[in-house]
Symmetry: C2
Subunit: 179 residues, 2 copies
DNA sequence: CGCTTCTTTCAGAAATTTGTGAAGTTAAGG
DNA sequence: CCTTAACTTCACAAATTTCTGAAAGAAGCG
């Protein structure tokens, strides 16, 4: 089932995966370009690509790459690194990517909680609507706590499966946090 | 801090909450109309409104309500019910709404897993890229399992907080599952 | 220091998404 | 059955988003 000479990757197969996986991410709410860039990085052997490589493989303009990368790095899903002594930048998915994505989800939830607290207060905690919102709020607070312990369990589980402890990589409280 | 006569709700305050909360949902990827309808239902005292009421409060056309409700009910976030002996339909947020929403998230994850499995296979499980994807896959499988037990813990937690056990409400494996 | 190479920003074209009016469909009530 | 109230679907207009080319902005390297 080996294709090509065994050394070169089957560009066709890579591309097919990139597009199907990206499509799923888009359907879940991610921007198209960002999804494609992310999928491409994920399926690259190095786990990192330069702007030019991305532009070529995905057939998009450098500007498009730039925008996608800005989105992804705000969501902490890729890291940018400079090849030492070169103007060329590389974008990398690191092992912590999903941890970071979920941490960001957490930021989103926190904003929801803020809105809900205001709602409870302005509608009155003793009205039926207020009680319903208070319950919703409680649910999110619960989830928030769970996320934390869940990621801890993942770290453990991961080591069991793969041995290596993932790179440390500071999760940082993080920006807006869209995705 | 009571406003109005105490019986009528402060329409202004409700509207303000609806719009701010909806805005947060939109930012997290939900369609605008769906978010507004959902927020309106959440902040209604009954937890249910008719199409006409929604159209009036949100100043949108019946067609808009129809579209939003279709989205929400596919995502299992609202239930539709018929007032017996009337052509009027009511849309209701039930206690299980978040459970349902997360169940749906689960469906999304399953689709991601499918794409990833194909990716691992077509790129080769022994290539660096293949290994990276396999790890991602493992992460999602882990999350999938966690979601299940998490919701169980929520049920328990919820009863502690509020006493009442939420309505049963069949979660159903569910359709596409956008949100 | 200026040249060259890469990246980002910006204004606008293109494509997609969203929301509406109007016609169509379903079902209650006479 | 026919009427009428309510919801849905559909085609299109409007708004928004996405992507690009061009120009401006950094940063290595001579």
């Amino acid at each position: 089932m080996e294709r090509m000479s065994g050394t070169a990757r089957d560009a066709e197969a890579v591309s097919r995966f990139v597009e199907t996986f990206a499509a799923q991410l888009v359907e879940a709410g991610m921007q198209r370009m960002a999804a494609r860039v992310f999928a491409a990085l994920l399926s690259s052997d190095e786990g990192a690509m330069s702007s030019a490589e991305l532009a070529e493989q995905l057939r998009i303009s450098p500007a498009g790459v730039s925008g996608a990368v800005r989105y992804l790095s705000q969501a902490h899903m890729v890291a940018r690194e400079r090849e030492p002594g070169s103007r060329r930048e590389r974008y990398r998915v690191h092992g912590d990517q999903w941890y970071a994505a979920l941490t960001n989800r957490d930021a989103v939830i926190r904003r929801w909680e803020g809105a809900l607290r205001e709602g409870v207060e302005s509608l009155g905690p003793d009205t039926p609507a207020g009680r319903r919102m208070a319950e919703t709020l409680a649910f999110f607070e619960f989830i928030e706590g769970e996320l934390l312990t869940m990621m801890e369990r993942w770290r453990v589980h991961r080591e069991q499966l793969f041995g290596e402890p993932g790179e440390p990589g500071e999760p940082e409280p993080g920006e807006p946090g869209e995705f």
